[in-house]
Amino acid sequence: MTNPATPRTLYDKIWDAHVVDRSDDGTCLLYIDRHLVHEVTSPQAFEGLRMTGRKVRAPERTIAVPDHNVPTTLDRQNGIDNPESRIQVDALDRNAREFGVNYYPVNDIRQGIVHIVGPEQGWTLPGMTVVCGDSHTATHGAFGALAHGIGTSEVEHVLATQTLIQSKSRNMKVEITGRLAPGVTAKDVVLRIIAETGTAGGTGHVIEYCGEAIRNLSMEGRMTICNMAIEGGARAGLIAPDETTFNYVKGRAHAPKGAQWEAAVAWWKTLFSDAEAHWDKVVTIRGEDIEPTVTWGTSPEDALPISARVPAPEDFAGGKIDAARRSLDYMDLKPGTELTDISIDAVFIGSCTNGRIEDLRAAADVLRGRKLANGVRGMVVPGSGLVRAQAEEEGLDQVFLDAGFEWRLAGCSMCLGMNPDQLSPGERCAATSNRNFEGRQGYKGRTHLMSPAMAAAAGVVGHLTDVRQLMAQTV
């Protein structure tokens, strides 16, 4: 353990508070406070427990919800057509009940994407360790919780022991100074960060995001930032908890109450990086320099301001030259094309990156009184049943329907196309999700990542555009 007298980062502090056992080589057994489980990466883990006669050590710390495979159409209470998807969802249902873990089944209004449900229900709290068999577990770092994705073998390890064998990562600080320009959102910030650091820039590190522009973000914006820490290669992303965090957590179903709340806040207030703490890597970006940002290629690092042009392979060095050539071919784009000249066929608003209520509000603000361009299809998929209900209470569903969008039930949907929501070959999508990998949204589908407001604006004009220009025009 680090000597508490020496300055520590937020990551160091959370790590130290969870060490159960430390080996001579520095490898630690780390206690896990919350284990989130979904249907895709858990069946083999539960099967492993059955085969070895092991139990779930702490079912009360384990939360299961189906999200990747579930259809998002209104008729889903009739069951899942795809037999393999149905088997996985049924397996989670059986495993959750047999092993007695907390569980939100498909037809529970609290069901949704696991990374939206955890914070919404108050399972995610500052200073915790949170894991899930899903790389976007980094989302929970927005609360100042050490949260990261694990593989299925580690899922089984956590189920059986409530711990993980870990070696410590290095500390990386990403500071966004100053203020963001109007119309620039958390999504633009994180895409800009990844463009700057590359998808391997955070490998071996835990990133703490800080600076005035981060401080000024809402909890939902902070979740968008940390969600994509993995896209920058980092093991986890963190934002120190503050009043914004406490206000978000207070009163949620599983948040502490009464005297325990007071004690918790007192501890949470100690969770920040000390002024003299050591950083292995530091990246600083001026908030004022960030524009609405979109991706052009098939890696999240292929991000540029909307005012830019599609780059040429020769603009890069090393192995990236061939990768860029392959991306341009896959995306059917020519170097030198204005990004705003790229026309789209589809808009997807949703995912654990941008499927929360503020995201839907931002998209609806653009779409109010406007319609999708001819030939463009659009889908809005709330991140949870509760987000959907809140949006309906605010009348956002009607805004989306009037604009020509489909209004769906909660799930991962078109972010990874494990369910019926997919792009067709060659179809080009403005998406609020997190990965533009080849085939991710559907075989030969083409993905441009951007913020909800930018995706809505692209839908209205039929091509990528700067949402600020659209909003300057009266409806």
């Binding site: 080589d25 990466t41 990562s169 391997a200 918790a264 494990m418 080849e438």
Partner: protein, 201 residues
Amino acid sequence: MDKFTTLTGIAAPMPLVNIDTDMIIPKQFLKTIKRSGLGVNLFDEMRYDRDGNEIADFVLNQPAYRNAEVLVAGDNFGCGSSREHAPWALLDFGIRCVISTSFADIFFNNCFKNGILPITLPQEAVDVLMDDARKGANARMTVDLENQTVSTSDGVEFHFDIDPFRKHCLLNGLDDIGLTMEKAPSIDSYEDQMAQARPWV
């Protein structure tokens, strides 16, 4: 888990950088509730056309590399999702070792849980190994975990670093869970302390 000690086999060159988990095993194959049988779908969308026919110039479809046991890959191999289906698919195909200049963290971890050895080496070394892999089936690479070396078919040898605990587990085919369960008393006492210190957790 199978032990990993030494391996002499065909190495396939995949110089592309940022080979992500969606490329290694596309999402439609994650619907299985088993660990086995994914090898046929390894690199599915690069390996087959829409009708399921092999794409002849994809490396693992070339006669020389159909029985490859080592992959020499571009930087940042395995980036993207946490799906352990990626190492399961590699293993089921017959790949026991992947060599690159860097790996994404979660993929790197997942390899060790499945008896696959991921080796990180500097660019110059990977370049030499990549060239050796390009020689095809007659050039066999040798990986020696005990001595932490990789050698080309010409006998050029590179030393690699590895975490001692992971090396030990891989050499002996040890199951992490069993090892951790021996530490149950430490976990019990941690939980007791935390029930006092942070009862809200």
